[in-house]
């Protein structure tokens, strides 16, 4: 299995060498891919699947690199794509953008790199805030309290997927470092 570890090492080296713009594009492609699959009916051997809010994952990940126009534009666009289902136009974009702002604020305020607990708990909180925001928007726009259970399952799906693909939304720069940014 040497070839496999060699392949993984070369991928890791290439990722390390990639600039913020390349990483942003790769992250956007990942969001688009997962989002496109999410638009179709999903079930696994008959069991319906909860699909993650991958836009929120991207917002949390890109928020670690600080405020930038590129991620903001992409998050709003992703939001519009999500709104195409049946949500009011701008609702998902607003949630994505606000979570992006929250992630930027949190990462500039706290040193998440040096405190493992914070690096674990902050995405949990910010993603929950995002889901809660979507729930509030949906409840307001529909005129009644929407069901919580599907939102919770989507939240847990989002958390799990975040743990798996979070490194893909690392732009290689940090909000608390005064260097390198996108946009």
């Amino acid at each position: 299995m040497n070839w496999l570890s060699g392949f993984a090492d070369s991928i890791a080296l290439r990722w390390e060498a990639a600039g913020p713009r390349s990483r942003l594009i790769i992250g956007a492609l990942v969001v688009a891919l997962i989002g496109m699959v999410g638009l179709t009916p999903k079930s696994f051997f008959g069991v319906p699947l909860a699909w993650p809010y991958v836009g929120l994952i991207a917002a949390v990940g890109w928020g670690r690199s600080g405020m930038a126009f590129g991620p903001m534009v992409l998050l709003v666009l992703f939001g519009f794509a999500q709104d195409a289902s049946q949500a009011p136009w701008g609702s998902h974009g607003l949630a994505n953008l606000l979570i992006f702002g929250l992630a930027v604020l949190v990462n500039q305020t706290f040193d998440t790199e040096r405190t493992p607990f914070l690096s674990f708990i902050l995405p949990v909180v910010t993603l929950f805030s995002g889901i809660a925001l979507v729930w509030v928007t949906a409840s307001i726009s529909s005129g009644h309290i929407v069901r919580v259970t599907p939102m919770l399952t989507a939240y847990f799906a989002t958390l799990v997927v975040h743990m798996l693909i979070a490194p893909l939304f690392d732009l290689g720069t940090r909000a608390n470092m005064n260097r390198g940014s996108v946009g």
Binding site: M36, V37, L39, T40, P41, K42, S43, F44, F45, G46, L49, G66, M67, A68, F69, M72, V76, G79, A81, D83, A84, S85, Q86, P88, W89, G90, S91, G93, L94, L97, L98, F100, G101, V104, L105, Q108, T109, F110, D111, R114, T115, L118, T137, S141, A175, N176, M177, N178, S181, G183
Partner: protein, 286 residues
């Protein structure tokens, strides 16, 4: 809790303003949609986007990989078929009830019943001499010569030889088999024999009238060899003066057959001749 200064955050006022402008824009967009007229105005955009992005009937990649989409399609087809058959069943039950009432009114004698046996086909002879089947039910099972055999689709043949534990069935595809049949819709009578190509042939056709294309062929019950109404097949086509019949039994399985008794019509009793009354001679008696 470790805390950093918000230096970088403060150093990017343009981006910060951009962020707030975007948030404000989205909030404004959301608020605008509270107006029903505006909301209706943007609906075509949603419809167009939905057409492009969603194909709800299109199965997902995961469904395709797991085969769920094919199964789902099959389930939908079967459900539709079950619904259709349920309608036919209800109709058939109604008609059976009506038929029963009519038969009772007419005091009609129905087809006689009898012991039926399901037998497994042990051997099949498709040689040049005879097309026959050997079933594992014989005299000990109550089978007697003249029983007819049918599978899940229709008439298979007639028992021509019975052993203790086996019986030989002459298939309707055999050239020497003769089955009195009738058209289900036309009601025309004919005799069917087996052709050499796996189809039945109709002979002794009526002089007037013709079998309808694709018409179902049933046993007519004439001659008492087979009961009336057993499915034989359907009219396949006309070749010259011959009418070919697509045999229904070939569409079913031939591993098991149901052996059923043929009609046994009792011989009519001789007309009773009453003896003439003997005239008494005049003066006799009192």
């Amino acid at each position: 809790m470790p805390r950093l200064s918000g230096k970088g955050y403060r150093q990017r006022p343009l981006r910060r303003y951009g962020f707030f402008v975007a948030v404000a824009g989205l909030v404004a967009l959301l608020l605008l949609q509270t107006s029903p007229r505006l909301s209706q105005g943007v609906e075509p955009i949603r419809t167009a986007a939905s057409d492009q992005l969603f194909h709800v009937t299109r199965p997902s990649l995961m469904d395709r990989l797991s085969g769920a989409s094919a199964k789902e399609r099959q389930i939908l087809e079967l459900e539709a078929r079950v619904r259709e058959l349920a309608q036919y069943k209800a109709l058939a039950l109604t008609m059976a009830e009506r038929l029963e009432v009519y038969e009772e009114i007419l005091n009609m004698q129905g087809e006689p019943g009898g012991a039926e046996v399901t037998a497994r086909i042990m051997a099949e002879t498709n040689g040049p001499f005879a097309e026959a089947l050997l079933a594992n039910a014989g005299a000990t099972n109550g089978v007697i010569e003249g029983y007819f055999a049918e599978n899940d689709r229709g008439l298979v043949g007639r028992v021509v030889q019975v052993g203790q534990r086996s019986s030989r069935i002459l298939k309707v595809t055999d050239f020497n088999s003769r089955v009195p049949v009738m058209g289900e819709a036309s009601g025309l009578r004919a005799i069917m024999f087996g052709g050499r190509d796996g189809f039945g042939r109709l002979t002794d056709l009526p002089e007037q009238g013709a079998f309808l294309p694709n018409e179902r062929i049933l046993t007519s019950g004439e001659g008492g060899l087979f009961p009336r109404g057993v499915v034989v097949g359907h009219v396949r086509g006309v070749e010259g003066k011959e009418i070919r019949v697509d045999l229904a039994m070939l569409n079913g399985q031939l591993s098991y057959v149901r052996l059923k008794p043929a009609i046994s019509i009792p011989t009519p009793e001789a007309f009773p001749v009453e003896p003439e009354p003997v005239e008494l001679a005049e003066g006799d008696g009192s």
